[in-house]
Symmetry: C2
Subunit: 375 residues, 2 copies
């Protein structure tokens, strides 16, 4: 843990550092150490993504093994997913931007699962048509992030093809109700569709191998809270003749309210990709910050960027330049930068970002169909 | 029950009559009464199938409602299925021949589900490739029975299309683990694939409605032992906007050994469609009959056709002519007909039947693909 502790005071690795260390212990994953960062940088021969530099990607499973595999000339595929229960928000886009960087850097296929079945099964108030519609709508937001359409395959669960279904069935024979219950918290009153779903979620781990007819490991960039969902997959992978999935875990992106992960269920403090400029400005201006009670006090004591969600947004997504980020931190700490202009600048950046994003999402309509895999 | 009791002594309604009455009580179904037979005969304006005339079809659910529906101009579809775990045998063909009669008589679509997924999920020793191969092989035997290829749709579970899958998912949201457990006997160690399967099995009940965009009831000809598997389907049908499935229940077809249903797990006393003439003759000659210990005794006391599996085979499938069947019964009873020639004649009929059947199965290869539905 030395590597983590020595960087704990930098402006880009400050948020809840200790909690994340506890999560690593709790989930039994490995910390993403400085050694691993250096090894990765050497391998890719280009600068690391800010999320890695800044420790937002803080944990992994077998990523060192994957680097061995790559160094021996092996390839891999990326796998991530989204439960299409509503509109996309900034909290979704941040890890996808990192996933795009991985795709670009390694020039690999991405399998993106849209679990419209799961979102339907989990919520008796939702129609299946609705979650499928969200799947297609979310897919446009995903493509807008800039994934290579030639190498990006959407698995929309409700439209998954026979090879995928077959694989899910093969997986499902190896997972008992008892195992699924322990991992996913199922009960006697859970419906039988949801009980099957872990097999649907595991299938993309082995799908690239099935499609290409050879063993290909997948790398899953995900929140660490998702890690247990791959436990059953890891347990059966080798028995089924596949590689175990490799994972990179990133911190949660906070909403604009105090604490917590950004969530569609808190629409006032979450910026959706469909939000208007006016709405973005309004939401950002109301954000929870590390500011003091009065301007006078803030000038005297300086702000607390380590607590500040506006700073967190700069750090995770809206300031790529480490020097500029450090200056923002220092200016806040010294009392030179007040919350008003700092929020305004973020709002401006978000507005510009969304304008470009919305156009890209519109353009993505032309390629979406070619990216849906139904094999 | 009067109707049943008054026919209990005829040669074609004799086998285990009382047990079947108990089953009706146990499963809570309705007896297929003489009134219902007469009503059906009037409706179809042609002679009843021997399986109805002889009471082999002895129970139903809502068949009277279906006749009302038909009389008001409504249509329906047939639904039956097969778990493709091995080769087809005569015990499978008999209810299919009855199903063919229903298809011809009412000129309706038949949805035939081949649950290769279930047979894979249930048996850890089997590969999925194997059960899928059996599905295709069994489908040839099914078509050989003479179903109208224009109106017969095979749902091979592993290749079921997105509309079917979507329907199964919709159904699965309405069945809890607790309900599935009570009906299918699932436990903590049941795999999650098998737990989902009741939704796959229910889906064909509503699939014709989905495909045609209007409410169409299905009629399921099946063994009464299958009846509980539709309990969950009946419970949710109306809530989902569909008709409850209607069912006709037939007696089990005995194997050639004493007692019991014909079963692939007893290959010595089961005639498979792939059996050679030599093998058929050998199996039939070893059959359990109602014969006496010695020829002398049999001439004196007569045989006991009510216990005889050879007679049961004539009754269910190899003697359509009621008069001829009655003569065989009487000749056995009187001691005029010995087991040797009776078996020989059955063996001859089975051999001829299988020869024709095997040719038809071969011919069916040309139409099979057009009958597989993947919508």
């Amino acid at each position: 843990m030395d590597e983590l502790e020595e960087t704990v005071v930098t402006p880009w690795e400050v948020r809840g550092r200790i909690n994340y260390e506890k999560l690593i212990e709790e989930f039994g994953t490995q910390p993403f150490t400085n050694d691993l960062k250096q090894r990765l940088e050497k391998n890719i021969k280009q600068p690391l993504h800010p999320m890695i530099r800044r420790g937002i990607v803080f944990s992994h499973r077998d990523f060192d093994w994957l680097l061995d595999h790559i160094e021996k000339g092996g390839d891999f595929a990326l796998y991530t997913g989204r439960g299409p229960s509503g509109n996309t928000h900034i909290g979704h886009l941040v890890p996808w931007q990192f996933t795009k960087w991985l795709q670009d850097t390694f020039d690999v296929e991405l399998y993106f699962q849209l679990t419209d079945d799961e979102k339907f099964l989990i919520d008796r108030e939702k129609s299946y048509e609705e979650t499928t519609q969200y799947a297609y709508q979310n897919a446009l937001d995903i493509l807008a992030v800039g994934f290579n359409p030639e190498k990006t395959k959407f698995i929309i669960d409700s439209e998954a093809g026979p090879k995928f279904r077959r694989l899910a069935t093969e997986i499902s024979r190896r997972i008992t109700f008892s195992t699924a219950k322990a991992i996913f918290g199922f009960t006697e009153s859970t419906n039988i569709g949801l009980i099957f779903h872990p097999a649907m979620q595991a299938a993309p781990c082995f799908y690239p191998s099935v499609l290409h007819g050879r063993k290909i490991p997948v790398l899953i960039p995900a929140g660490i809270d998702q890690d247990p969902y791959w436990r059953a997959t890891r347990d059966i992978a080798e028995k089924m003749g596949y590689y175990k999935p490799v994972a990179l875990h990133s911190e949660f992106i906070p909403g604009l309210e105090e604490g917590g992960k950004m969530s569609a269920s808190k629409p006032d403090t979450t910026v959706f990709t469909t939000d208007s400029a006016k709405s973005v400005v309004k939401k950002v201006k109301r954000a929870f910050t590390g500011g003091r009670a009065t301007i006078e006090e803030q000038k005297r004591l300086g702000g607390e960027p380590e607590k500040c969600n506006v700073f967190a947004w700069y750090r995770t997504s809206f300031e790529d330049d480490d020097e500029a980020l450090k200056k923002r931190w220092d200016d806040c700490k010294s009392g030179a930068l007040m919350c008003g202009p700092c929020k305004q600048e973020l709002a401006d950046r978000v507005v510009v970002f969304l304008e470009v994003h919305q156009q890209k999402a519109e353009d993505a309509k032309d390629v979406l169909e070619s990216c849906v895999i139904r094999i």
